[in-house]
Amino acid sequence: MSAHAEENPLLEGLDLGRRPESCALVIFGASGDLTQRKLMPALYSLAIRGLLPEHFVVIGAARTPGTDDEFRAKMREAIEKYARDPFREDVWERLASGMRYAALDFSDETSENSLVRILSTVDAEYGTQGNRVFYFAVPPNAIATLVSELAARRAAEGWVRLIIEKPFGNDLASARSLNELIADRFSEREVYRIDHYLGKETVQNMLALRFANGIFEPIWNRQFVDHVQITVAESIGIEGRGSFYEHTGAIRDIFQNLLLQLVAITAMEPPSDFTADSVRNEKVKVLRSLQTPDPTSVVRGQYGRGFVEGIEVPGYREEDGVDPASMTDTYVAAKLYVDNWRWADTPFYVRMGKRLGRRETTVAIQFKRAPHPPFAEATSDSLRPNVLLIHVQPDEGMSLAIGAKVPGQGMSIRTVHMDFLYGSAFREGLPEAYERLILDAMLGDATLFTRSDEIEEQWALVDAITSAWERDRTAFPNYAAGTWGPPSADELLHRDGRSWRRH
C-alpha cells in the first residue's frame, strides 16, 4: 500500500490515472501555427479523456492585440479543424471557460507584468495554486528575455515548468549560453526541451521492444547486427520557412535533435528504471560515444527542381526567402560509429532530407546473414538478411523480414514480412505526440524531454561536421526533388558493400 493510500483507505486500488495537479498553462506564441495545429487540439484531446487537471487555465500570450473572446473563437476553430476527436460542446465549454489572452511584446521587459496580473487573478478564481507551465512556442531569440523576466516574477507558491521548443540554440556555444542562462534561474528539473518526435508512440515502443522482450536484447549488438539504417525523409519542402531554414538547414533542423535522439534510443544500454534521469543518463552515454565522422563519411545535399507526387516543385534556391546561391543543406547522410563494447565497428547509416521520394521515418536493424544456408536452390538474392524495421511514421508499427519456404516442390526461399501495425492491434487511437508531452510536463515527468548535457553533446557533433563544410564547396543542387538524395549518399554505402533499404 502506498503512503497516500495508508492515509486514505478509499484510494487503495482506485486508478486515478495520470492526472496532473491544478495549474495554468501559458503559451507564448499563441497566435502561431503550432498553437492552432498542435497544442490546442492536444489540450482538447486531453480534456475529452479527463486527463487535464481539475482546475486548469490556458493563457495565450502573443504580440497580436486581441481579447479573451477572440482568442477563444480562434482556438475553437482550430480544434474543430485539427483535433483528432469529434467536437463536443460540453468538453469545449469546460476548456474555454478557463481561457485567457494576453497581448505581450516579448522583447519588452515590463510586458510580463500584465501576465503576472492575469496569473494572480486566475489563481484566485480557478484555484490553480501558483502552478505554472510556460510553453515557449516562440523564436529562439525571444526565449532569453522571457526566461529572465519570468524568473524575476516567479510566484512564491507553486511549481514552474518551462517547455522549450526546438531548435535549442544554433550551435554548441549558443546552446551552452542558453543552458547557462536558464540554469542560473531555474533548476534542470523545471526545464522540458521538447522535440515532439520523442512523444510518438513508436519511439517509445522502441524502448518497450528492446527492454520488455527477452528475445531482442541478446541479439541487439555487434555480434548479430550488421548495421543500422535510420531514415527521416520528408516529401514536403520548407513550407514558406525560407528565412528560418537558411539559418538551420537539415543538419540543425533534424540531425541535431531527432536523428541523434533516434541513434541514442537505438544504441543505449538498458536503464535501471524508466525514470527521467536513468533513461537520459543512458542516452547521453551513447551521444558521448559517437565518433566524429570524417568528411568522407558525411554527405550533404540540396534539392533542385523535380516532381513530388506527380506535381512539379521548385528547387530550394527558388523558394521564397532563400538566397538564389544558397549553400544550405536540405539533405544530410552520414555513417556514424558508436564507440563502445556493444556497437564497435557497427555502422549506423543515417539520412534525412526535404523533398525526398516520400514521407517516412524508420529505424532498420539489419542482422547478419545466415552463415551457411544449406539450400542449393536458394539464390543469394532470395536469401536476404533479416531486418527488423521500426516505422516511426507513417503506419506506426514494426515488421520483421524473414526467409520462408515458397509452397510447392523444392526449397525455394522468399523474404516475407511479419507486420505489426499499431492501428490494427490496439483499440485506442494513437495519441498525438504533443498530448503525451504536454501531459508529461504537467506531471513533472521529463523522461521524453532532452536534458542540457544531451543537447550540448548533440551540438558538439554537429559543430564538428559543419566546421568541415566551411572548407568544402559542394555543387548544389545535387539531387532532384522527389528522389532519394544525391548519388554520393548511395556511394557512402556502396563503398562498404551495402545499400540503402529499398522503399
Binding site: 492515509e7 478509499l10 486500488g13 482506485l14 501495425l421 490494427s424 483499440r427
Partner: protein
C-alpha cells in the same frame, strides 16, 4: 462508431469444428484476395455465453466491442431442448481505425441438445493460441453448473454483470474468487462515485453515510465503504440512480461521461489480475 470497411459472412447448420475452421480460412483468403484485409492481428479470444433471452443485448454490446478489440469472439447460445448439433454463423469484419483497419472474427454458435452441455469442448479448438481468453457470462450463472465450470476452466478472466441478476448473491460469488479472476461491470459503473467519495476523506470516516441506487451498484458501493472504512454502513435504499448523503448532506454526483456497455466491457478486457478491492467489497456485503 467506427466505419465498417468490410463484412463477410457464412452460415451453416449441423456443422463441425472442422467446417468452421475451413470456412474461416476461406473467408480470410477471399478477403485477402479482394484486398479488403491485409493483416490479422489479435489480442484476445472473447467467449460470450449468451442464453437466448440475452441475445439482443449481447449483439448490441458486441457490435461496439468488435471495432475496438481485434479479437476472435465466440458467441455460444445454448438450446438444450433442440436436437443435438451445432449451427454456426461466421462473420469477418474490419473497421476503419485511422489509416488502418481493426479486424475481428465473430463465430456465433447455437449449441443444440447435448452439445449445450459441453461448451468448453467446442470453444477449446477455436481459441487463438497463446492469447488471453475472456469469458463474458450473460445473466446469472449457475455457479455449480457444468457449463459454468467448464467455461471458467478455459478462461483467464470472467466478466459478469451483477446488475443482470435478481440479487447480488455474495456468498456464491466469494466462492468463485478462488477459482478465477472476476470482473463485474456493475462494479465498474461505480468507479466515478468511488473517486468522489475518496475525495471526501477524512470527514467521511466518521459521518453517517446513506446510499440509494440500483441494487447491485449501490450494494457494491456500500460493501466497498464497509471494507475500506472498516465500519458499518446503513442498508441501501432502492433508486434508479446512485445518490449518497454524508451526515444528511447530499454529495455532488460525479460527472458521468456517456459510457456504453461496449465501453465498459472493453475496459474489463484490458484487465488481467484479480481485483482484491472488489472481492473485499463483495465479502463485506455477505
Amino acid at each position: 462508431m467506427k466505419t465498417l470497411l468490410h463484412h463477410e459472412t457464412w452460415t451453416g447448420t449441423d456443422v463441425t469444428i472442422r467446417d468452421i475452421e475451413r470456412e474461416l480460412q476461406r473467408l480470410r483468403s477471399s478477403s485477402a484476395a479482394s484486398g479488403s484485409m491485409h493483416l490479422r492481428t489479435s489480442v484476445l479470444t472473447h467467449i460470450a455465453w449468451v442464453p437466448r433471452e440475452w441475445r439482443d443485448a449481447a449483439e448490441e454490446t458486441l457490435q461496439g466491442l468488435a471495432e475496438r478489440h481485434p479479437s476472435r469472439t465466440l458467441i455460444l447460445t445454448p438450446e438444450p431442448t433442440g436436437a443435438t448439433g451445432i449451427d454456426a454463423e461466421l462473420a469477418l469484419r474490419s473497421f476503419a481505425a485511422g489509416q488502418h483497419a481493426v479486424y475481428s472474427e465473430v463465430i456465433s454458435l447455437t449449441l443444440r441438445g447435448a452439445t449445450s452441455l459441453a461448451p468448453a469442448s467446442i470453444a477449446l479448438p477455436l481459441l487463438i493460441s497463446d492469447l488471453p481468453v475472456f469469458l463474458r457470462w450473460r445473466g446469472r450463472p449457475d455457479f455449480g453448473g457444468r457449463q459454468w465450470r467448464q467455461l471458467v476452466g478455459v478462461a483467464d478472466r470472467v466478466v459478469i454483470d451483477t446488475s443482470e441478476w435478481d440479487e447480488l448473491r455474495p456468498n456464491e460469488l466469494c466462492r468463485e474468487f478462488e477459482k478465477t479472476a472476476l470482473s463485474d461491470i456493475a462494479w465498474a459503473r461505480t468507479v466515478e462515485w468511488r473517486r468522489v467519495l475518496a475525495g471526501t476523506w477524512p470527514e467521511i470516516r466518521d459521518q453517517e453515510i446513506r446510499l440509494a441506487g440500483p441494487p447491485a451498484e449501490a450494494e457494491l458501493l456500500r460493501g466497498w465503504l464497509v471494507a475500506r472504512l472498516e465500519r458499518g454502513v446503513r442498508a441501501v435504499a432502492p433508486a434508479a440512480e446512485i445518490s449518497v448523503t454524508l451526515d444528511g448532506v447530499p454529495v455532488t454526483a460525479p460527472t458521468m461521461f456517456a459510457v456504453t456497455s461496449s465501453d465498459r466491457l472493453s475496459a474489463e478486457l484490458d484487465r488481467f489480475a484479480r481485483d482484491p478491492i472488489y472481492e473485499a467489497a463483495v465479502r463485506a456485503t455477505a
